[in-house]
């Protein structure tokens, strides 16, 4: 074989290997033989369900479940907007669900078909429904907050015992950020979860859609930008658990996962999480059925199953997020139930808010402010 041909061959094989490896294998699913129960295709967040929930459901109903995972709302949304995703049940966050419904990507959920819907916490469900703008969009699976995770020893060492570990100022005050720079600060790469909270810190309503408020928040972030290690949503869990960073704006569940990992590793790092007293936004992940779902009946069966008190409690005990399920409370680990970072105190609840669903123009403002902040110009 001539050398140049050999090279070409190697190149083609390499390209094929690369394409093959980068191919999202979750898209190719061999169709399983459907038994009596039929099948159900679920698309949920990664690490968001107890290990045996799916197998228990399959055993109980005879339904064969295909369970795929995503790790950002954006990925889910792009799939839904492109159409023909093939999924029967997905778990978008409320604002994404609202937009998806507007685009016609989701169908209404008939709650009368779900016996266990009565287990739901009406207050939480109402807040989510308000955000989505419908009483029949779906049922809240888990909910949580955005707050600050921090390494107790490292922060106290740098800021003293009176470190403001109850306020956004721990990170958003440039004086504090400067002192924490050396041990590492990270911020979520999620403008809709960060900018409204910076606005509350500055004294503006978190629900504001004023361009000037977003810009003020962007300026406040730019002021601490020199002290940031990075802006990223997925890396901080590991890094804070390992002591590579010491303070981060994070989602509640991620923060507890980090705390758990640090504890498991016995590396001496103690991670805690708090909801700042200025208030924070709540988010709700909602079980919803895509408009073009093929196994709608099975989707209802699954939602009903998930709403059972014991199933919901098992999931909470595994993922450490607050459940939308009121009836599950007795079975939930007391340590979780009593943690103000997961189930906020009544006093903290007063300051919690739900961000409105932005229109396209506001989306653009938010993105632009965020990009300017993260680009540093």
């Amino acid at each position: 074989m001539e050398r140049s041909n050999l090279f070409l061959l190697i190149g083609v094989i390499a390209a094929a290997v690369v394409i093959f490896l980068n191919f999202d294998s979750s898209n190719i699913k061999t169709s399983q033989v459907s038994e009596a129960g039929g099948e159900l295709k679920i698309y949920n967040w990664s690490d968001y369900i107890a290990e045996d929930t799916i197998s228990n459901f399959e055993a109980e109903t005879g339904i064969i479940v295909t369970y795929d995972m995503y790790d950002s709302n954006e990925v889910l949304e792009a799939k839904m907007l492109a159409g023909s995703s093939g999924y029967d049940l997905v778990v978008p966050t409320a604002d994404f669900l609202a937009r998806g419904r507007e685009a016609g990507a989701y169908q209404d959920m008939d709650l009368s078909r779900i016996q266990n819907a009565s287990n739901q916490d009406p207050e939480i469900q109402a807040q989510a429904d308000r955000m989505v703008g419908s009483n029949s969009a779906g049922l809240v699976y888990m909910w949580g907050s955005t707050g600050i995770a921090y390494n107790e020893d490292m922060v106290v060492e740098r800021l003293g015992d009176d470190a403001p570990t109850d306020s956004w100022s721990l990170i958003l005050d440039p004086a504090n950020a400067a002192k924490l720079e050396d041990c590492g600060i990270a911020i979520l790469d999620a403008p809709t979860d960060v900018l409204p909270n910076v606005m509350t810190y500055l004294g503006y309503p978190g629900t504001s859609m004023e361009k000037s408020h977003f810009e003020a928040a962007g300026d406040a972030l730019s002021a601490i930008r020199p002290y940031l290690r990075y802006i990223n949503s997925s890396q901080s869990i590991n890094d804070i658990a390992n002591g590579d960073i010491c303070a981060a704006i994070m989602w509640s569940g991620d923060a507890f996962q980090a705390a758990y990992r640090a504890e498991e590793a016995e590396n001496g790092h103690v991670i805690d999480y708090y909801i700042p007293n200025e208030g924070t936004n709540l988010w709700f992940d909602v079980m919803a059925i895509p408009a073009d779902a093929k196994n709608v009946d099975n989707a209802y069966k699954f939602v009903d199953y998930m709403m059972r008190a014991d199933v919901a409690a098992a999931n909470v005990n595994y993922v450490w997020y607050a459940s939308g399920n009121e009836a599950a409370r007795p079975d939930i680990d007391p340590e979780i139930l009593s943690h103000p970072g997961i189930y906020p105190t009544e006093k903290a609840k007063e300051k919690l808010f739900v961000t409105p669903v932005y229109d396209a123009q506001t989306d653009r403002i938010v993105t632009r402010v965020w990009n300017r902040f993260s680009a540093g110009n």
Partner: protein
């Protein structure tokens, strides 16, 4: 019968690659151009296609808004573009500096082990690039392997901050793109006749002279091919800087991502991509055109 197969074979040889290009390169590109001239909306799909084939036959109603929007806020796109081009440029340069000696060494080593060495070069492609990036993070972290060794050896007391620096970004870029540089360089260096190098030495050229006047000019096709193979994907790269870099790394790829995912504005995302393609492709086409002019 034989004739038929011969003819069929010829058609296959010509049309298979052409069909491949048409299917996986031309159609997506045309579709992207189509989307870039479409109007955004909240629906499935989230735009009104500029070009439609429907009951009313063909309709073509292009919208220039997306390009105008980019024009209006050009500063927001210029800086990420500069970031991306800078990243791509230096990644290409570093890859070239690392790949050249490696390619030379492989091309000059024993024929029987050349294939093994080439497979070793390609080996990293067999693992997911994300996995390789996390492996790199594991090496470079303040509590990572390299710092552990440095501290153990007493070279440093406090860990050296290697993550979230240019060093970590370019390490990741080189790790990912080096094979794409080595292969074309190897292909051009292996074709270089040893007697040409010996002839230069015989005529009084010292090592550096031989490299400067003979090897380097004769490997330019490989350098150009390798640089394009690295530069073009590197311009669109944003995962590596996001994973390994600090906050200052807003890349054009990320801007396209935010247009697509955060603003849900597929048409604007497509328009940026089209402009990016134009910026990258046009100079190459121009350079080739110049080349042809010069030869003829």
């Amino acid at each position: 019968m034989n004739y038929f197969f011969q003819k069929f074979g010829r058609i296959l040889v010509i049309w298979l690659p052409l069909g491949w290009l048409l299917l996986f390169f031309m159609f997506p590109l045309v579709e992207m151009i189509n989307v870039s001239f479409s109007e955004a909306r909240r629906a499935v799909p989230p735009y009104i296609p500029a070009f439609q084939i429907g009951s009313g036959g063909f309709t073509f109603s292009p919208v220039l808004d997306n390009y105008l929007l980019i024009y209006e806020y050009w500063e927001d796109y210029l800086w990420p573009a500069i970031n991306s081009i800078r990243l791509a440029f230096f990644s290409t340069l570093y890859c070239l500096l690392f790949a050249y000696p490696m390619a030379w060494w492989i091309a000059r080593s024993n024929k029987s082990i050349q294939h093994i060495l080439l497979i070793l070069v390609l080996m990293p492609f067999w693992t997911s690039s994300l996995l390789r990036m996390y492996a790199l993070i594991g090496l470079l972290n303040p509590n990572g392997f390299i710092n552990d060794v440095l501290i153990w050896a007493g070279i440093t007391v406090t860990p050296i901050q290697m993550m979230q620096t240019d060093f970590s970004i370019y390490s990741g870029m080189i790790l990912t793109y080096l094979p794409l540089m080595i292969l074309p360089l190897y292909a051009s260096l292996v074709r270089l006749d040893v007697s040409i190098i010996e002839a230069a030495a015989d005529l009084g050229a010292k090592k550096w002279d031989i490299f400067r006047t003979i090897v380097l000019p004769l490997s330019i096709p490989g350098i150009v091919a390798g640089s394009l193979l690295v530069f073009i994907p590197a311009v669109g790269e944003f995962v590596i800087p996001a994973l390994l870099g600090g906050p200052e790394q807003l890349m054009l790829g990320k801007v396209i991502w935010t247009e697509f995912f955060r603003n849900r504005d597929w048409p604007v995302a497509a328009a940026i991509a089209i402009i990016l393609i134009a910026i990258i492709i046009l100079p190459i086409v121009y350079a080739r055109y110049q080349d042809r002019e010069r030869i003829s």
